[in-house]
Symmetry: C2
Subunit: 377 residues, 2 copies
């Protein structure tokens, strides 16, 4: 099979680890952050810019791509990489999160979900098999099984039922897989209940999945609950396979999870905050809408080497954001991805050097201090 | 004085002419198209991208920049070029068009316009003198006098009153100018009435303006009316000064006006249509929203060498536009500017070669044929 994962250095002071994902398309160094390209585009940034920023793998979404442009188009053009001109890797989420969280008319059963398209009103079916079929058409390098994703804080009885269905669906997904070039990851559920997580990890790791995701976090839980469960769940997963924490998170979330042995992340925060006018910087979050930046000749982040920081002042970025001009979010998107991808590169280097625990502690201290300082400002 | 204009080749078969605008900041080859950067940003495209596409001068708007970021900021940072990191030239419109066309509370008098800011509700005054003062703060290379801009189709009596006020205001603008490095253009008014245009051109050309604009067209007039008045008005202007047709226009508009001896143009069409999903191509306008493009593997324009056409398919651009993803308009903006700027480069080369009349005739024939063909499709 084309997909493989090899472990590299381990950090002596934490559970952090280096790794390499290998596919016939290329390799990805882990820990890695995946920019979110839900609809086969990462909002407001071209693939070649993402590549230049150091992105090696992006996430796309099966639910949204099923509705538009649909599987036939992907089959016709030969997959998402050709369609969007992205030379790196693609991981596709299965649509599980969307069918449970989006407020469109839907009915759930053991078979899967039936729902009405928000685009043309047509009825669609998303089952464990049809999700894999769609992901096969998309041609992603890593596919995810369809899961039943419920709020982390739901009752244990609901959590057990969702977990057990997720297990049955995972096996149906495994059976439905047709292209051995495409890796398939399972998703550990179980909410905030340790015994359920344990049972889920034990069950799924008995089957030949190429990687394991921790699902159902960052869905109503607190930061402390999330961190505790991430540490607990990561430890339950096979050491030799990649571990992916779905939908997480902020820079501190990433640093903590890497220290727990997580290898892969995705989150809409860098783009979403950019379009809200907020940047991540070495001195904390900067909200460009604030009047304090109106006359600032300073760059967004003096410690940053991205093209936005090398070129523009905070005053100009403030002006763009206040004027609702798209160039503002575009420039902040470049910066935020530079921040995220650079943070991951620093994390990988710290693991290689065997100093990740100290590195993360220092970074988290700085981030907490900045967030705290900003809260007072 | 820093500003100068020198004429180059003339086309033997039309009134088209080559020229060079010279300022201490740089030179601009005419005929030239100026991308519109109303709020010190050309929507959705960074200055370095515009420069790479061949733009040499952009237009910004005094009315909008007066309200935000305001004159103090421009004085503080040393002008618009530094503020937005644009190394080319900048022409500032005076705000005349906005105060007459925008529906905000305003009162007009011989002194100027009083109006309420749409941003913070504060009362502002725009007079011939304060417009020049603001444009001096902005630091544009070419300033425009404040004019009274009324619909081209208004009654002759209203046209005369507006023209006469425009003349008085032009002289007040000339007297208010303080920085000899900044050129100042007058604006010929007179609607669709030849005798008024004649009178306006005669009056204004007696005064030491650096260039002359034809105002009040593309404001309610038909294409035929606009073309006839452009030809008539351009002929009335001093041959040795640059001639600028304000707010015009489509590619055919530009070709016709160049043939009348017009040197400079600005228009929001390339960006506005891009954000509506429409592209200018060698085979006519392409509306990417149309279902016909849904499965097209072709590039947007086979004859185009821009990065959008070199990289993406119509199917992908269709998907982006239908998904309301900003990357769609961003990529179409790059293409549309490439189209406009390339058309101007072709026009300049045709004038140099003494074949502009034939070049324009052929191009207009093709454009008309495509528009006609598309209308039937």
């Amino acid at each position: 099979m084309a997909f493989s994962f090899s472990l590299g250095a381990r950090d002596p002071g934490s559970r952090a680890r280096r790794g390499t994902l290998r596919t016939s398309r290329g390799t990805v160094e882990t820990p890695v952050f995946m920019p979110v390209g839900t609809r086969a585009t990462v909002t407001g940034i071209a693939p070649d810019e993402l590549l230049a920023l150091g992105a090696s793998i992006i996430l796309a979404n099966t639910y949204h791509l099923l509705l538009r442009p649909g599987p036939d188009l992907f089959r016709r053009v030969g997959g998402i990489h050709t369609f969007m001109r992205w030379p790196g890797l693609v991981l596709t989420d299965s649509g599980g999160y969307q069918i449970f969280s989006l407020p469109h008319e839907r009915t759930m059963s053991e078979d899967g979900a039936r729902f009405r398209s928000y685009i043309d009103g047509r009825i669609h079916q998303l089952t464990p098999e049809s999700s894999i079929e769609m992901q096969t058409a998309i041609g992603s390098d890593i596919m995810m099984v369809l899961d039943e994703c419920i709020p982390a804080t739901d009752l244990e009885s609901a959590g057990r039922a969702a977990m057990e269905r997720t297990h049955r669906w995972a096996l149906r997904g495994l059976a439905a897989r047709s292209n051995p070039e495409q890796a398939l990851f399972a998703i550990v559920q179980g909410g905030l209940v340790p015994s359920l997580r344990q049972e889920s990890a034990r069950f799924l790791s008995q089957h030949p999945f190429d990687g394991f995701a921790i699902g159902g976090l960052a869905v109503g839980d607190t930061r402390t609950q999330r961190e505790e469960m991430t540490a607990f769940a990561a430890d339950l997963l096979p050491a030799a396979a990649p571990r992916y924490l779905m939908g997480v998170g902020t820079p501190p979330d990433l640093l903590v999870a890497i220290g727990c042995g997580v290898d892969m992340f995705d989150c809409v925060i860098p783009t979403r905050l950019a379009w809200q006018g907020t940047a991540f910087t070495s001195t904390g979050r900067v909200r460009l809408t604030r009047g304090a930046h109106q006359t600032s000749d300073e760059s967004l982040d003096k410690a940053c080497s991205c093209s936005t920081c090398r070129t523009y002042t905070r005053a100009y970025l403030h002006h763009l954001v206040k004027s609702s001009e798209p160039l503002g979010p575009q420039l902040l998107t470049v910066h935020n991805f530079h921040y995220y991808l650079d943070l991951m590169a620093q994390a990988r280097a710290a693991i290689e050097a065997g100093v990740y625990a100290a590195f993360a502690k220092q970074k988290l201290y700085e981030m907490d201090r900045h967030e705290h300082g900003e809260a007072r400002a």
